[in-house]
């Protein structure tokens, strides 16, 4: 037990270190710009006074390490500074959008994870059949399609031709849960289509890998049905890799959400980030990047930890 705690603690320390490195990149990225950031953003026509005001606003007049420390302190206390574009508190801008994005990601995950596991197990069961090959083709197409292509195809058929779901998901807080789900149906479906194939393939691969091992051979020789072999004997051991895949794909969802939100004009964090990038509203972009990167790393970290904790070989060393 001590052994495993040590490994987990190491992973967590590594994760924290990565977060620290990322926060450094996010803040010191500004330093990389050749010349002066204020002049680059304000353009040639800026007067020295406006440049000076801008520099104080961004804290560019302070030395870089002080700026970093005050930024870090602000991030950890929830005070992320003010937006350059509209002078509003960033935490206020982000708050509701973050919960919208989490809602969308959670909705997509709730559909895609069970679906992928179910289809993956079926593919392992009926491997090398027509169904398996169909799954293969579907995977190849879905990794080849840009997200926005999938999104617009769905809009074209389900929002325009059939009129079943709205093509624009203007979700707001005062809607009921059912209404929210209805309006975010198409973005969630897009995300599902994007991640489900990959998860399914990995589930299939994890199970098939195990099916080649001697103990499964033994069970098979005893004459137990294929379905039971997979569910009772293969699946428990394949759980660790599968959980890993699920977490990695959820991490992917976090990023995929950016493009999908833009397509569906969904009021989420991704949309805010893209808008801020084109306005070069750097404090907002920094805050959004930090949030996205943290979620991404936390998901990957939890995948790591779960696969360590569920690995029988590590639980009982020697």
């Amino acid at each position: 037990m001590i052994h495993i705690l040590k490994i987990v603690a190491q992973r967590i320390a590594l994760g924290l270190l990565t977060l620290f490195a990322i926060s450094l990149i996010i803040t010191f990225g500004v330093e990389l710009l050749p010349g002066d950031l204020a002049e680059a953003i304000l353009g040639q026509g800026a007067t020295p006074e406006t440049v000076k005001v801008f520099r104080t606003e961004l804290g560019l007049d302070k030395p870089a390490h002080l700026r970093y420390l005050s930024w870090l302190y602000g991030m950890s206390t929830g005070d992320m500074g003010v937006s350059l574009a509209n002078k509003r508190e960033i935490s206020e801008l982000i708050g509701i959008r973050l919960s919208n994005t989490i809602f969308l990601g959670g909705f997509a995950a709730a559909i895609s994870v069970p679906l992928a596991l179910f289809l993956g197990i079926l593919a392992a069961l009926y491997r090398n059949t027509l169904y398996d090959r169909a799954v293969n083709t579907f995977t190849l197409t879905s990794i080849s399609f840009p997200e926005f292509f999938v999104a617009y195809i769905l809009i074209f058929f389900f929002a325009i031709k059939l009129g079943w779901f709205p093509g624009i998901s203007n979700v707001s807080t005062n809607l009921s849960l059912g209404d929210k789900l209805y309006r975010s149906m198409l973005p969630a479906a897009t995300l599902t289509l994007v991640v489900v194939a990959h998860m399914m393939r990995m589930t299939r691969a994890a199970i098939i890998n195990l099916l080649a091992s001697p103990y499964i051979e033994m069970v098979r020789l005893k004459g137990i049905s294929p379905m039971k072999i997979i569910l009772r004997h293969a699946l428990p051991n394949a759980l660790a890799p599968i959980v890993n895949v699920v977490a990695i794909n959820l991490a992917y969802l976090v990023v995929g959400v950016v493009i999908v939100e833009v397509v569906f004009v969904y009021p989420g964090l991704g949309q805010l980030m893209v808008d801020s990038v084109s306005k070069r509203d750097i404090p907002v972009v920094q805050a959004c990047s930090m949030i996205f990167a943290s979620v991404y790393i936390l998901l990957n970290l939890s995948a790591d930890i779960i696969s360590i904790v569920t690995n029988p070989r590590l639980l009982h060393p020697r």
């Binding site: 292509f149 493009i259 750097i282 990047s289 990167a293």
Partner: protein, 277 residues
């Protein structure tokens, strides 16, 4: 030459289809000015004209010929993606081989930097950098090259690690060969095959990535034609049951599928050969 032809003809249907698509795309991209009926930036008629004999695929949001923009878009998007992939391979494989050959603290530093860069989601990283530097083509190329080179580095380092422990590398070192020689003559020839297979997949990734950025309005800037931004600019047409904006997106998807088919076949072929021996 006849050998290559024989291999191509022995390919399965999917790979042949893939090669055909890649061939057509390359011809369109290279000879774009001769194929396109109108210029890339020419404003010809009203905005959003329907498909007609004059404008085969109608016109876009500014009244430019859609088909011509599609053809020039092939040139811009594929050209950009290809050059970024090549740059990323040069950077990634070189640093990867150096890390493997030198080991020690060089390897440690390079690998830790790559670890950190890879732990940031690539789209978020690109958005961050582009917001600082602005959306100009050189920064776009540099950003995506760095992102992509990290993946190439991992592969190059891992495969080169298997090679540097071989006796012939040891012999070369004892003989007093310089680092450059060891990398060029001993390591590189032995890791070319896996790197080449990866090249196709990396190209797909870069291609999709640029399209996504352009779609967000942060990639190639107008008036240059680009498939991603063409989808974005004409997306309103979809609400009028017009499929035209889906065409550039479909063009992106078709090319990636085609390349995946080819890579699948190549990987299958190389793994199949291993089974026999």
């Amino acid at each position: 030459m006849s050998n290559i032809l024989k291999i191509i003809f022995s390919a399965p249907l999917s790979a042949k289809f893939g090669m055909l698509v890649v061939l057509i795309y390359s011809i369109v991209a290279i000879f774009a000015p001769f194929i396109a009926p109108y210029g890339e930036r020419e404003i010809l008629g009203r905005a959003f004209e329907l498909w007609s004999d004059k404008y085969l695929l109608g016109t876009d949001n500014l009244g430019r010929d859609m088909l011509s923009r599609m053809i020039f878009g092939a040139r811009n998007t594929i050209g950009l993606a290809l050059s970024i992939t090549i740059l990323a391979f040069l950077l990634g494989s070189l640093t990867g081989m150096i890390a493997a050959a030198l080991g020690g603290w060089v390897d440690q530093i390079l690998s830790r930097i790559v670890d950190v860069l890879m732990s940031i989601p690539s789209l978020i990283f690109a958005l961050l950098i582009l917001s600082i530097f602005g959306t100009s083509v050189p920064y776009l190329i540099a950003t995506i090259t760095v992102i992509d080179a990290t993946r190439v580095y991992r592969l190059a380092r891992a495969t080169a690690m298997n090679v540097v422990v071989m006796d012939y590398v040891e012999v070369a070192r004892v003989r007093g060969e310089k680092l450059g020689w060891v990398i060029r003559k001993e390591i590189l020839p032995n890791i070319t095959a896996p790197l080449l297979a990866e090249f196709g997949l990396r190209f797909c990734f870069v291609f999709l990535f640029i399209s996504a950025l352009s779609f967000l309005g942060l990639g190639l800037q107008p008036p240059a034609a680009d498939w991603g931004s063409m989808v974005r600019d004409n997306a309103t047409l979809i609400t009028f049951e017009d499929m035209t904006p889906l065409l550039p997106a479909g063009a992106i998807a078709l090319l990636t599928i085609a390349i995946n088919f080819i890579v699948d076949w190549m990987l299958h072929k190389s793994s199949g050969l291993k089974d026999v021996s």
